[in-house]
């Protein structure tokens, strides 16, 4: 990949974007927590009745620095996110199984871990992608908007098919100007 081939893209801007990744796109742990708060929030209503959750506004304030993590998230969970989702589901599964083993549930003991995980996993991954896309759209830098287009492109090429609701949101965001 060489910058010389980017005919429609200002060379200096490309260099700036690349430089931004090289010089500090990695978020500090507290900053990563800010992104996590938005990606995982349940109700996201810390500013109700305001239109936009403050969790999202906090990510916006990280601006281009959050783009790398959000772009990765948009393409599917990062290893850390995958680990966190798996850990949470395994823990909840374990609790239910132990509770049933004590004979306290009318549902009986049987609970299939693979079925349990798959029941929630798809929705959780789709939600991560939608939250990431929304944050990228709000940030609105060229690289953030490019990440949305790239995810759509991969979907069209069927390399990573998106859930229909994720695709719909990405199409909507891609067609709208960032605020």
């Amino acid at each position: 990949m060489t910058l010389r081939r980017l005919s429609h893209f200002s060379r200096s801007r490309a260099a700036l974007v690349a430089l931004s990744f090289l010089t500090g796109a990695c978020l500090s742990i507290p900053e990563r927590r800010v992104v996590d708060q938005w990606l995982y929030c349940e109700e996201c209503l810390t500013t109700m009745p305001a239109q936009e959750p403050s969790e999202l506004r906090a990510v916006e304030r990280l601006h281009w620095r959050a783009v790398s993590l959000l772009s990765h998230t948009l393409l599917g969970p990062t290893p850390r996110q995958r680990g966190a989702l798996d850990s949470m589901l395994a823990r909840d599964y374990y609790l239910i199984r132990e509770y049933r083993a004590m004979g306290l549930s009318p549902a009986g003991i049987r609970i299939d871990s693979a079925q349990f995980v798959s029941r929630y996993d798809e929705g959780m991954v789709a939600a991560l992608q939608k939250r990431a896309a929304l944050a990228l759209w709000q940030i609105g830098t060229p690289s953030a908007r490019a990440a949305i287009r790239y995810a759509l492109k991969r979907d069209v090429l069927r390399t990573t098919p998106l859930r229909p609701d994720v695709r719909l949101l990405l199409d909507t965001l891609n067609a709208r100007r960032s605020p």
Binding site: S7, C26, E42, E43, D92, Y94, E98, F116, L134
Partner: protein
């Protein structure tokens, strides 16, 4: 067009190539017991009191409670009387002074110090009960004679007193009065200690079973039923582990809603009589059951993002069926049970709490492993007027500040076992309206 694709690829590959190593630390989900705790860690027994009860908890690497088989080792002449799960009842053997009881799981152990007061010495209120079933109850107030008011008292009927005994009974009072509330039942009797056994006569009650109605916008399939079953079991497992004093009905009828679409937001305080909220053939939602609605979307403020769940006070819970986690339901039940303050700021969420294992609390507002409730939270669920299970007019006002108890004299919201509440300044807040 080609340039735009290349530009996209350049950006993404730059991001991919550089990456952020700090985002790759994968933790594997293998819960193992790393500590054992005995509760309470110290017991003072009044003169002539022979029996006391202890609990144990096995804690994993994340601080969560895990089921375990406990071995109890009493010393100083004490002996084990009975054991049931995490609870054991001991007999002092008549000695006075210091005793210890050790609890073990494998090589891990913790020790409780027991002090038996000699006859004639004023004693603290006894700190144990003996039913093994982990029911819960809140006790506060002292209604008879000139006895001192017991303020922060959280007692758990059955399974032993785990909580706060912040006041002392005046030894000249003899019997002392208690107002006990177990779920929706209010016990106003004046119980007495039962012999030397430290039980409250007439006060024992099993956990209140809260009625539940489940509605779904999707066809009821075995898979959907299994999901609802699992989530209700998770709710009850968490309530039981925290001795919350209530459980949810585990055999609710599943109703398929003909209403399309189900409202994706709480439509104001009138939602219960709003036609949009009424389900055909049923009229308005009942007041005497928690209504849990699995619906295809719970939208956010700008319509572009969705919530996992939402509680429409007091008793209607919306769960986003296309994106929620197993613990979303227990979190929303926390809101219905009054964990909503400071209203407009953190909405009962623990995200701003200092320390306190906040992310493991069921009121953490994010998909995480949520299992914990503090004593302060359990107290509010039973006593605060904001809680749906507290009958109208019977609740106290615990206020809206996490680190204060309000005019109801409640323990701090953050008050918990073996954890000193953080000494933080009061925060300004506005309360939810009745």
């Amino acid at each position: 067009m080609r340039g735009r694709v290349l530009q996209t690829l350049a950006v993404i590959s730059a991001a991919t190539l550089v990456g952020c190593p700090s985002d790759d630390d994968v933790s594997l989900p293998v819960p193992t017991i790393t500590a054992v705790e005995v509760i309470p860690e110290a017991v003072q027994l009044g003169p002539g009191i022979e029996f006391f009860t202890l609990h144990a908890r096995a804690i994993d690497q994340w601080g969560f409670k895990l089921p375990a088989v406990f071995t109890w080792i009493p010393t100083g002449g004490a002996s084990i009387e009975s054991q049931n799960g995490d609870t054991a009842v001991f007999k002092t053997g008549g000695a006075t002074g210091d005793l210890t009881v050790e609890v073990r799981v494998g090589t891990l152990a913790d020790v409780a110090s027991i002090y038996v007061t000699a006859p004639g010495v004023n004693a603290d209120i006894a700190t144990s009960l003996s039913e093994p079933e982990p029911a819960g109850a809140m006790f506060r107030g002292l209604v008879s004679g000139n006895c001192r008011v017991l303020n922060e008292v959280v007692a758990f009927l059955g399974g032993g007193v785990l909580g706060y005994l912040d006041g002392q009974a005046n030894p000249t009072c003899g019997a002392f009065g208690l107002v006990a509330q177990v779920g929706m039942r209010l016990h106003t009797e004046t119980p007495t200690w039962n012999g030397g056994r430290q039980e409250i006569a007439g006060g024992n009650a099993p956990p209140e079973v809260v009625k539940v109605q489940v509605w779904t916008s999707e066809p009821i399939t075995p898979a959907l039923k299994a999901m609802v079953d699992g989530e209700l079991d998770l709710v009850n497992a968490i309530l039981r582990t925290n001795r919350a004093g209530f459980t949810v009905d585990r055999d609710p009828t599943l109703h398929e809603s003909s209403m399309t679409p189900i409202p994706a937001e709480c439509s104001g305080p009138e939602y219960k009589t709003d036609p949009a909220w009424m389900v055909s053939g049923t009229g308005a939602f009942p007041d005497d059951a928690l209504v849990i609605f699995y619906t295809s979307s719970v939208t956010g403020g700008n319509g572009l993002f969705s919530r996992r769940g939402l509680t429409c006070r007091p008793n209607v819970i919306l769960i986003n069926s296309s994106d929620h986690v197993p613990s979303t339901l227990v979190h929303e039940i926390g809101h219905a049970m009054g964990l909503v303050e400071p209203w407009g700021l953190t909405w009962g969420h623990t995200n701003q709490w200092a320390g306190m294992r906040a992310s493991q609390n069921i009121m953490w507002d994010a998909a995480s492993t949520r299992i914990h409730l503090t004593l302060g939270q359990v107290f509010r669920m039973h006593k605060d007027w904001r809680s749906w299970i507290v009958p109208d007019g019977l609740g106290v006002d615990c206020g809206c500040r996490p680190y204060q108890g309000g005019s109801g004299g409640c323990p701090m919201l953050t008050a918990d076992f073996r954890m000193a509440p953080p000494p933080l300044p009061p925060v300004a807040c506005t309360s939810v309206s009745p």
